[in-house]
Symmetry: C3
Subunit: 151 residues, 3 copies
């Protein structure tokens, strides 16, 4: 037991835990942002929500709410691979500076992606931040597969 | 090798594995529920599905099916953070009763959330169960970051 | 520290890392496929994307793009449970051939699922591949719960 728990002595795993927790918290924040726009714009997906604020007619869609929801889904589609592949990668004993570079690039790219998406910044700002995140994850996947491959 | 495998001697990790598996199985059940409503209501998203039951006109949306799908997506958006942050949290050697409290609150809140959502219970039942889950995850994230922080 | 890192000496964990990485990369590929159809068909979800290719009227939906997106979401809904439950399962020290059977069945089923979905093959091809994946995950969940159960 103590062995796995003391795994947090590994600097790579500690930094991975830190960055993965931060980027997951960022993803959770998208839910709060959706709720914020739903409440301030009076736009709900469910009859019981609209009824709670007193107007059943509020069940409709809104461009801004849909934008935040697409951003949230894109987070899920990209952060899940980062977390899964990043964990295996961290177990392959990469050098700490290399690992930090991957984690920082990925997490930074997702923050840029969200700002670009929610702020509707002109392309290719969102596209480029998306690609940086994909490349960071793909690079960790390459290292993982070339180290542990057992089919 | 034996060291990680024997990590299941850790009661916190064992209870985390138990609760995480249960809540993930609950999430998987949402797919079955969607299929159930699609089949009983004759509402499909794909031409080949409608054709399989003999009526191409069945490609349409339905309020109940969309409700279950929103509930499923909300599960994904909240259970992924719980699983990721909960794993790191379990490695920070929290006291077992504290850890159990977090896991039970989260898993309980998600069951309440699903019942509120699928049953269209009046708000704030769904909102409150959602918030309890978020707070449990946020509390584990706080403990994780304050223990392992390495940026 | 070295103990967790040396966990990659476990053949079950190595093969799990391999298969999980492969199936997650497959899931990431769905994003590229969506982008491919969006670009070749001129179908975008955001004004700034349509503007980038020079035509604001391109903000609309398309049957093929929506099909790939449903396939991607179905991947998320099924691969997340596989990754979570598969990790716990790998820690319960299953026999390597049994573990390999589970991993191969799941990953194979998801490749069949994607081909069936994107290619719109007649049912029950997609339904059957979906069920094989669910059964593989459920079987690992059963083994995990019966080994580590601590409520």
């Amino acid at each position: 037991m103590s062995s796995l728990l003391s795994s947090m002595d590994s600097d790579v795993l500690r930094s991975f835990s830190t960055y993965a927790t931060i980027v997951v918290l960022k993803m959770m924040f998208m839910s709060q942002l959706t709720s914020f726009f739903r409440l301030t714009k009076g736009v709900f997906a469910n009859v019981e929500d609209a009824r709670f604020v007193g107007d059943k007619k509020l069940v409709r869609t809104d461009l801004m709410v849909e934008r935040v929801r697409r951003c949230h889904l894109n987070d899920l589609e990209n952060i899940v691979p980062f977390v899964v592949i990043g964990l295996f990668y961290s177990l392959t004993q990469p050098a700490l500076p290399t690992a930090l570079l991957h984690f920082r690039l990925f997490v930074g790219s997702r923050f840029c992606h969200s700002v670009s998406y929610v702020g509707a910044l002109p392309q290719p700002s969102r596209g480029l931040s998306y690609i940086v995140g994909v490349l960071a994850t793909a690079s960790m996947a390459y290292r993982t597969l070339s180290t542990v491959l057992l089919l």
